[in-house]
Assembly symmetry: C2
Homo-oligomer: 463 residues x 2
């Protein structure tokens, strides 16, 4: 088995395991107690906080351990926005944030706040100028991830943080995907992270709040962790998280270079070995271990099953919404193909031969899914214009991704150059995938019109 889904969860780092075992014996007691076991637990907690703060680039008293990265985000956004309630009730997030940020934004809206969702370019990055344009005098908080969890694109956090500082608006950086590789640069105000993304145990997140940032914790008060994380400290896991962050940082430069080579190899070769593939995300400003691509005429879940059978664990679509039927909000915001989406996120130490083996099995896995779906075997070639003229309509109602696109591809050869075909579909993915198909195939996308059920997508054959 090759596990290529480190962006979801990384296996426990050996150092984390060691630290966890040691602190199960030494750190189970209540660190707020004055007796021996309590003092020992307190020392472990203090040392873990100090080491983690150093890695994050903040003061120990600015750092709180939470029960998960998601909880850190929820707490951070709720507390920082409430702390500036008098300034205003406006929140900025990028359109490609992790679901924990977007769900916090929805809760903020439900409570009467206004949210701006900053768009991203086709590579998945926000544009600094347009993000900064969204800052208003009543902006309570701005949020921007350090790097995207689905496509690996790094965000221009330092520049955005600088602009936020000038505007006097705190910036919360969700650094869950990047903390293993280094500290977040720029004058951020709040930062969140998740230990199981860097090889630490699950059950540990972190929330840094810079001194001077107004912060009003929400919900019932609790004395622990500066009132920012309710409940008994998950101490052995916190110690393990701190130890593994230190360990991965020590190896980060070398491992980043190695993984970057491996993902570059996939980026470069996947389009050679598999026809009709779109590699997405920024080719340069990106995390070392993540590469994402989408395959025309492929059902992502079916491809995952094929790859699982071949011994590879990868994810597809949105990393946190795999149970839903709508395409990933990240791919949608980028405007790229969503069907047959695969995210490969290499874990620490991923072997070169496993990557080669992945590239070797991928073509067959994709072909197998396409066969089952009856996808067109090769790019459609122009045929003589037929008598059906410009009135061709493909009825794909009730058919799920990637069928509407497959049906479109099957008939395009029957459309005369200059002629138009309309696809009737009620599948959400079609809205994204039909334009993406046109771009990949060099056909002209004319737009969509509402229909009684779903929408009609019009395509003009140009070649």
């Amino acid at each position: 088995m090759s596990y290529f889904d480190a962006a979801s969860a990384a296996p426990l780092h050996p150092v984390a395991r060691q630290a966890l075992l040691a602190s199960l014996d030494e750190g189970w007691a209540d660190p707020s107690r004055l007796y021996r076991e309590g003092r020992r637990a307190r020392m472990l907690l203090d040392a873990a906080r100090e080491a983690t703060a150093e890695a994050v680039g903040c003061r120990p008293d600015e750092l709180t351990f939470t029960s998960s990265g998601t909880r850190a985000v929820h707490t951070g956004i709720a507390g920082a926005s409430a702390g500036r309630r008098r300034i205003g009730r406006h929140l900025i997030v990028s359109a490609v944030e992790h679901s924990s940020v977007l769900h916090s934004a929805e809760a903020f809206e439900a409570a009467g706040g206004a949210v701006t969702r900053a768009p991203v370019t086709r590579t998945g990055a926000v544009c600094v100028e347009s993000y900064v344009d969204a800052l208003r005098s009543d902006t309570a908080l701005a949020c921007l991830q350090s790097a995207n969890h689905e496509v690996g694109t790094e965000q221009p956090v330092a520049a955005v943080a600088e602009a936020c500082r000038e505007a006097g608006t705190p910036l919360l950086v969700d650094a869950a995907q990047s903390l293993a590789w280094g500290a977040v640069e720029g004058p951020w105000s709040l930062l969140t992270g998740s230990a199981h993304k860097w090889g630490g145990p699950s059950g540990v997140g972190l929330l840094a709040v810079r001194k001077g940032v107004r912060f009003a914790p929400q919900g019932p008060v609790d004395e622990r962790e500066s009132g920012r994380a309710a409940g008994f400290e998950n101490l052995p896991a916190i110690v393990a998280a701190a130890a593994s962050l230190r360990a991965v940082r020590a190896e980060a430069a070398a491992e980043a270079a190695r993984l970057r080579d491996l993902t570059a190899r996939i980026r470069a070769r996947v389009a050679d070995v598999v026809p009709d593939v779109e590699v997405v995300g920024d080719p340069h400003r990106r995390l070392p271990g993540i590469v994402t691509f989408s395959c025309l005429y492929v059902d992502g879940e079916a491809l995952l099953h094929e790859l699982d059978r071949a011994g590879f664990s990868v994810s597809s679509g949105s990393s946190c919404t795999s149970s839903t039927l709508t395409p990933s909000h990240v791919l949608r915001a980028m405007g790229v193909l969503s069907e047959g989406n695969v995210r490969v996120s290499l874990p620490w130490g991923a072997a070169e031969e496993d990557v080669e083996r992945f590239l070797a099995v991928l073509p067959e896995a994709v072909a197998g899914v396409r066969d089952k779906l009856g996808a067109p075997g090769s790019p459609a070639t122009p045929t003589a214009a037929d008598a059906r003229g410009t009135g061709l309509v493909v009825d794909a109602l009730g058919r799920r991704c990637p069928i509407p696109v497959i049906e479109l591809a099957k008939v395009i050869g029957d459309v005369p150059v200059g002629g138009t075909v309309r696809v009737l579909s009620d599948d959400e993915a079609a809205r994204l995938d039909i334009p993406a198909w046109c771009e990949m195939r060099g056909q002209e996308y004319l737009g969509e019109e509402p229909a009684d059920r779903g929408a009609v997508y019009a395509v003009r054959r140009t070649s």
Copy 2:
């Protein structure tokens, strides 16, 4: 070292340790993923949920794992009260609940709700009739602990649950202290627990919500754990928690009998070996491992230090507010002596000889603290009435517990029988401890009057 503070946190049960180690290897992946590692994690999570639900006495789909017992209480109270917002905005809690319940009640009040805090008797138990009297047509939720965390008194949960069911009001039971010993009886609606109280790891709480109970999760939505616990599941710890609950339950009956004998021994003998001690809590309806007593003329924190030096880890006052200067809300609600308070909570497997050693060192530890504070060496004996008549005033302003009571004890001998002495004190504990002293000493407490600073407590010498 003898660790006698199991009610704060219990050392990891060997079974929990074993299960944790195994699931670190098998259960680190995301259980919502479809690949091999994810499916394995899902199986572990499902099995843990099933085993825990059986121990709790609910259906697996009624059980959610949270990041701590505190978080379970916060989530449970917020969700259940919001789910019945249309019924009304009234909440009932007992006056001796854990701080997580009381803090939730404060948040509920701050949001415009009304809270009834049901009183307890001198043993620490609510009276069923008076608790039930508090039920109103607009009561959204009632909360009652299964047993008290400071004095070990069991609450009449089954009877209260029955009455709540008849009234159509959901009852939330905080079962943190009792789950190791058995399931909670009666038709409760919601139940919370904390794994590190039963020998599981920290970082795991549980929240059971019976089918049919209206529940509206608060805060940002999250797909995991039925939307009731945000963030990645703390899976290895959950597996360990489930395994250890099963393990302790298998040994519960025998261990309960053994610990009950040991705490009964302390209850019976502490007053023999230490003068001026009040053992608190119900002598019969109580948890097996907890015994709590208060020592006149003793500073609780100083006594903790003495006992720690003698090799015993115990807690004092309120188990969750040890950093504050006010006496425990539990002892206050019971109306018992709070000074020199010691809670002994024996861990699983506590050795008889350690308990004997504790009883052997306790007298000297108490005497040492009393000596340093200049406490009266023996019960005051009546002396001849002197000329000062009834006008004696002890000025204890600025002096902290137990000094006001010590000063009172020092002068009582100078007061003629039938005469009155007044103690002027601004220490919160005096309000509790001066009446308690009167009861222990057979003197008459006349009541308190406000003063420019603090209050004046009047005592009539009767013997």
